[in-house]
């Protein structure tokens, strides 16, 4: 089973009305890989992540996670993945400590263990000073750190992360990156979207670029480096961003 890829997406399609948010996506993410899923705003990254999380049903296509078909084995998959979704899935009326305990118990941890891990995670993510504060009062960076802490509480095999470093300060981001690298070293897989290309370039083994719902490039970072281009150059070239400069001469 472990030889199967962490994620296998085949001809995935998601329509919103007449518009295809994701259009015939094929992607394979090997196990133990740090995978960067890139794209400009509105490219279909979040929609793809939502389909992987089981929050949005695909219009067509197939998803296999950790060798299990989605949505047929949805619960088994969910028990083995850690999610850093967008902020709307946090429970604002709970304190940070209560939220982590709640998540731990939802993943089947005993109450005492959930509490113990929650306290340790809050300390690890430098949120122990805010453990009694309501999540609704957290800053954006604190919310992201809390979401990442929650994703780790049940020691998952696969992390699905939507913009995990958004709004996080440099120290916090460094700590989060190191933690994720440790998770990959122990054999977990990380699948993340990010707009910060330097972060992706430094962390990821493989990257894929999606634009207007279609996969336009997939490669290992090693192959990219052989070409001598930075990820940013490649990204801008791939989505055709260079042309946009031409019109505004007055600028």
């Amino acid at each position: 089973m472990d030889s199967l890829p962490a994620i296998r997406i085949t001809q995935l399609r998601k329509l919103y009305g007449a518009k295809a948010a994701v259009d015939g996506l094929n992607l394979t993410v090997p196990r133990g890989c740090f995978f960067g899923f890139l794209g400009p705003n509105g490219a279909g990254k979040t929609t793809t992540i939502k389909m992987l999380m089981g929050l949005a049903p695909p219009t067509s296509g197939a998803i296999e996670i950790l060798g299990l078909p989605m949505p047929q084995a949805e619960n088994e998959i969910k028990a083995r993945i850690g999610l850093v979704p967008d902020e709307t899935l946090l429970f604002e009326q709970l304190t940070g400590l209560e939220f982590l305990q709640f998540v731990g118990r939802m993943y089947g941890l005993a109450r005492s263990i959930a509490r113990e891990r929650a306290v340790e995670l809050l300390h690890l993510f430098e949120l122990d000073g805010a453990s009694g504060q309501l999540v609704g009062e957290y800053s954006k960076g604190m919310r992201k750190r809390l979401a990442m802490a929650a994703s780790m509480i049940h020691r998952p095999e696969l992390f699905l992360m939507d913009e995990p470093f958004e709004g996080v300060d440099a120290v916090g981001a460094r700590m989060m990156k190191n933690l994720l690298l440790e998770q990959v070293r122990r054999g977990a897989t990380v699948f993340l979207t990010s707009h910060v290309l330097e972060v992706v370039e430094r962390l990821c083994d493989r990257v894929a670029i999606i634009h207007q719902g279609k996969l336009i490039m997939e490669s290992s970072m090693a192959d990219l480096r052989l070409g001598g281009e930075t990820l940013e150059d490649l990204f801008v070239r791939a989505i055709g961003g260079e042309r946009r400069r031409e019109a505004l001469e007055w600028l």
Partner: protein, 535 residues
């Protein structure tokens, strides 16, 4: 994974969410909440005690039946109204948020029912009182209270279905506005129904429906020992139908894709023929004032909260005051001005008292842009005046079409008085918007922007402002002099202009001196009620 572990975690988190509201509230709010809860639950406990006393004493089965049928109907209406209020105010649970956790699909419905159950504490108090009353009754048996269980289940299934239906409807702003608007109009129905001469016939029609048909009457029959087959069938039928409805709507709600629905409902933004409505400021004003007023008008008309209140001003406002005019509670020529002033009060939250709360994203920008803050405030006031005049125009049209205009002089008076009151309100509003800023969500149709402290002040402001205008009408009647009326209103307008100038100056000073705390207040997230576990 055992459901009970997850269910316990959800109930625990729900309890914590409720509890967390209290210790963090300000002392005044805490006291108010405590008194409010005491009164609220005290009333339900009183109802339960009354049930015990009545049922334990009455020896008349028929009276016991009528009492129980009435009580159960109230229980049902309350239990079904609760999800409507929860969803319409945004304080609603989204079971979809739990989908990221490994909960078996088949058990999600049970969780939903569990949460509906935990929302119905008031009903449990009432049903407990009724059950105890049955146990102590000289003519009824304690075991008959068991028939409350199917009634309880019926309510839970129905509430789950109603709630999911509403969430789907409310996920689209336009639909949500219409539903909230219709609910508001419903509030006028009882008053209007009393005016209809044939309301007796409606009551007769209601009484002619067999008493076993309704879920509350069927339950009351069974509970009072009337175990005939028709009551059994009615109860089982309601139970089965509510389960089918609740389950069906719940499953549909889980499959419901909000983004997809929104994409279908919202066409791409294009230039619209109504665009000229927003561009008129450029005819009379120069930039930056013109563009600021245009921005205000566009933002407000795109805000569901404002649109709803604007619509209510010339519909609900007319309907709610109509019965009093009909019954002669006040002189018919006062009707127009009362409706106009009421409409201004409806709009005051969005246009006057806390206008930066609805515009908080742009507020920091106002301090950064090379625009005087005075221009921003004046632009907001100009937009408010324009919208109030538009509202008054709509009220005039509606009243004219409905034949409710007594004389055109009453209309003129209505305009004069309303606009003079508006000058005062705008002045005080400039001060309150800076003194008590509070973030508000322009997309939530039924959320108010006033901070609690300011609500107390409003209780003083409205009567104090209304008194001199009431005096103007009084003076006209006593001395039969229109000139006197216009002189008083004119004097009040002059005083209002002075008041406006004073408050504007105070507000601008405040903007300079208390900029930091003002922006900090607005940057806070809106009261975090709309979290998952508030349902």
């Amino acid at each position: 994974m055992a459901l009970n572990l997850q269910a316990r975690a959800i109930l625990w988190a729900q309890w914590r969410s409720w509890r967390n509201v209290l210790p963090r509230a300000r002392r005044g709010s805490l006291l108010l909440a405590a008194v409010g809860s005491l009164v609220w639950y005290g009333l339900w406990i009183l109802g339960a005690v009354a049930s015990v006393l009545f049922l334990s004493e009455t020896t008349d089965r028929e009276r016991a039946y009528s009492f129980l049928a009435g009580g159960l109907m109230i229980a049902l209406l309350y239990w079904q109204l609760l999800p409507v209020l929860m969803v319409s105010t945004g304080a609603s649970l989204e079971i979809k948020k739990l989908l990221v956790y490994p909960i078996p699909h088949s058990e999600l419905f049970q969780l939903e029912l569990l949460l509906r159950f935990s929302n119905g504490l008031e009903m449990l108090i009432l049903l407990s009182g009724m059950s105890l009353g049955l146990a102590l009754s000289p003519v009824l048996n304690a075991w008959l209270a068991g028939f409350f269980l199917p009634f309880l289940a019926f309510n839970l299934f129905l509430a789950a279905g109603v709630r999911q239906t509403l969430i789907r409807f409310f996920s689209q702003n336009k639909t949500r506005e219409w539903i909230v608007f219709l609910l508001a109009l419903l509030a006028t129905v009882p008053q209007l129904a009393l005016l209809v001469e044939r309301s007796d016939h409606l009551f007769e029609l209601w009484r002619s429906v067999p008493s076993a048909v309704w879920p509350w009457t069927a339950t009351a029959h069974l509970v009072t020992g009337d175990l005939v087959w028709s009551n059994w069938i009615a109860m089982i039928g309601w139970l089965a139908a509510s389960y089918a409805f609740g389950r069906w709507m719940f499953e549909k709600g889980l499959r419901f894709d909000e983004d997809a629905a929104r994409a279908r409902a919202e066409p791409a933004a294009t230039a619209c023929w109504t665009d000229w409505l927003f561009q008129w400021p450029h005819l009379w004003l120069r930039d930056p004032l013109a563009v600021l007023v245009e921005k205000e008008l566009r933002s407000l008309f795109r805000s569901p909260a404002f649109r709803l209140l604007f619509l209510m001003g010339f519909t609900f406002g007319v309907l709610i005051w109509f019965p009093m005019r009909y019954r002669g509670s006040f002189s018919p020529d006062r009707f127009f001005v009362i409706v106009c002033v009421y409409a201004i009060l409806l709009l005051s939250d969005t246009l006057i008292w806390n206008y930066f709360g609805f515009d908080r994203g742009a507020t920091a920008w106002y301090f950064l842009a090379p625009v005087g803050f005075g221009d921003v405030v004046i632009a907001k006031n100009i937009a408010a005046v324009a919208l109030v005049v538009f509202e008054l125009g709509m009220i005039t049209v509606v009243c004219f079409l409905a034949g409710l205009i007594q004389s055109w002089q009453a209309v003129l008076d209505g305009y004069l008085v309303s606009l003079t009151i508006l000058v005062y309100l705008l002045g005080i509003g400039n001060w309150s918007s800076l003194k008590y800023p509070r973030p508000s969500d322009p997309n939530r149709s039924w959320r108010r922007g006033n901070p609690g402290r300011f609500r107390f002040l409003l209780l003083l402001i409205y009567p104090l402002l209304g008194a001199p205008f009431a005096f103007a009408y009084f003076a006209r009647e006593v001395w039969e002099s229109n000139s006197l009326f216009y002189a008083i209103v004119g004097a009040l307008a002059a005083l209002g202009a002075g008041c406006y100038g004073f408050f504007l100056e105070t507000a601008l000073n405040m903007a300079r001196e208390e900029k930091e705390s003002f922006l900090r207040e607005l940057a806070e997230t809106e009261t975090p009620i709309s979290s998952l576990l508030q349902g």
